[in-house]
Subunit: 359 residues, 2 copies
């Protein structure tokens, strides 16, 4: 039998996640929201019996065995660490903490309780096109990987939103934190290399919106470009632009003999002078209704998260280990890269990625 | 009556250019090639009466009034400067010289003979989509320009070629020199801003090919990404990748209110929540048969050059000044930016663009 789930968060993402959890066979037994009113409203519309604004009340709930952390980033790490400390499985949405030290605490907790599930919600890994991309790279489709180019364009992450943590980089807001984190994880997962040095440029162009005005302003980045020199010799270049409309995501992996492209949820290949379609997404494969294309949790990313949750369900049902998911160590690596990109953007220099060690 | 044309160069581009010049009403009276054999072969197949391997013989030819310099970059500047010195009009292919000081000599010559036509062959300016893009930016379609993203992907510039100047960055080879130069010119032309500082990364992944082997190797870049901080406040990010197949070129201009995209030879716009197609290229508009999609002179760029030559013809016929063309000063600016990108790639630091002054 699948464990009971306690969900942290009240965002729009829940409208896709909660029905999905139920369709997988999970019971959603408790909901936490930042205010009791928020929690009550969402619990009411999604028919969750128990709701609260106190973190411990969900964690200590006797029927909660799996904690799904979809809270704002500032709370993710402390919830995850506490949950593991009392023996609960954890799936934590990206970026899973505000800085590397928060992730490090999670890594420690996960090492202390190795029998518990500890996963960061980097769901892009689970999209069929990405799985096939990774397999093709491992099978040598392109030969040695030289170059990876990633380009994500979307509309404003703040569309229709008032002032919130999304506006503050220190609270986990911004393109680098919300979209870049998934890209950094994706690239390492696909090519099996990690960043040694990075160079980044961050910009905040939209400082006020119709809903964020007066003395308030947006500090989080809405454009970001960075390069990563990987430990296996590849160069990765990433461009994230929230000044366009609709989500478009493209990942190109170039090697000695050919190249592979994930465009949206399709996978295209080229080698020996021939183009071929390696995966054509089924209708709806890249979507997670009722989520919009853009916003802080774009539909493509949410679709990946739903697939990750399905893999979690299968893992519990079969007793098989969960392969391919991002561990907390993977999350710490991503946090280290994001920190290095921020330092690089501030100092305008190439910056070493420095992974904090456990004492 | 249009002036007689002396053409420098024997590349594949001539197969498109020479018939085009004739269709415009020019007489092609003389051809220069690096060897007499090359010159003879091309002159024979294109029915040009006079051919030579001596530069002066074309320049001093009494029927040559317009010099079209399609030679390797190492010869471009000296041919252009000499031509102007003896009163001939000059259209010089990009990059129009190997370094800023070569361009500076051309600027001086052009200032000394202001009645002569002096144009760098940055033909992308003349593509209908680019003309409309520029006009839309000037009309305030996107508001203030914040961001420009340019991405060019193509196959190897060395496809099917043996060892030549294309393999040597010091001789004008490489993506930055051949494709990047046109991008730098295009962006400044479209948004009316110039680069102050740049940060660049250059890579050479393919060091040998089937035709370039043994002790020879390729030194010119086949991947390049750079950022430019513009004097009007915009940020420009450029990615050039010669590890894909077929030419794809995309220029996205983002502003306060919307964005404009040139994809290939189409122009797409977005503002006030609405997408619209502002220009749909006619069949063949982006092509210059018999040139291939990729190679050192991709068809899209060649198509622009042909349009530039048509504008030159009209200018001679009507006696109207040639507007919109890239002047030698524009060429010097581009050379200064390329130099700064190379310095940045070598020092791995943001680098000021420094425009040499005329004494």
């Amino acid at each position: 039998m699948l464990p009971g789930v306690g969900v942290f968060g009240t965002g729009k993402l829940l409208e896709a996640v909660v029905p999905h959890l139920r369709s997988l066979g999970f019971r959603v037994v408790a909901l936490w929201g930042q205010t009791l009113e928020d929690a009550g409203n969402v619990a009411g519309s999604l028919h969750i019996d128990y709701f609260t604004s106190r973190i411990d009340d969900v964690l200590l709930h006797k029927d909660v065995d799996l904690v799904l952390v979809l809270s704002p980033p500032s709370l993710q790490s402390q919830i995850a660490v506490k949950a593991m400390g009392i023996g609960k499985h954890v799936v934590c949405d990206r970026p899973a903490g505000l800085c590397q030290s928060e992730l490090l605490k999670m890594v420690l907790a996960a090492q202390y309780y190795p029998s518990l599930l500890s996963v960061v919600g980097y769901g892009l890994r689970y999209l069929p096109a990405v799985r096939q991309l990774r397999q093709a790279v491992r099978d040598g489709y392109v030969g040695d990987v030289r170059l990876v180019e990633v380009r994500v364009t979307c509309g404003s992450l703040l569309e229709g939103a008032g002032y919130s943590w999304l506006c503050e980089p220190a609270m986990g807001g911004g393109l680098l934190s919300l979209i870049g984190s998934g890209v950094v994880d994706l690239v390492s997962h696909v090519i099996g290399q990690r960043a040694r040095r990075v160079h980044g440029t961050l910009r905040t162009y939209t400082r006020q919106t119709r809903l964020i005005a007066g003395i308030r302003h947006v500090g989080s980045d809405d454009f970001c470009t960075f390069q990563m020199e990987m430990d296996g010799g590849a160069l990765v270049t990433v461009s994230l632009n929230a000044h366009l409309s609709g989500l478009q995501q493209e990942v190109v992996v170039c090697g000695d003999w050919g190249h592979l492209t994930v465009r949206g949820a399709d996978l295209l290949g080229f080698r020996a002078g021939q183009h071929e379609t390696l995966h054509r997404a089924a209708p709806g494969e890249a979507a997670a209704p009722p989520l919009p294309e853009a916003g802080p949790q774009p539909a493509l990313h949410a679709a990946g998260l739903l697939r990750l949750l399905a893999a979690v369900a299968h893992s519990f049902a079969d007793g098989e280990p969960l392969t391919d998911a991002a561990s907390f160590q993977d999350g710490q690596y991503v946090a280290a890269v994001l920190e290095a990109v921020r330092v690089s953007a501030a100092t305008q220099a190439w910056t070493q990625v420095s992974l904090s060690q456990i004492w």
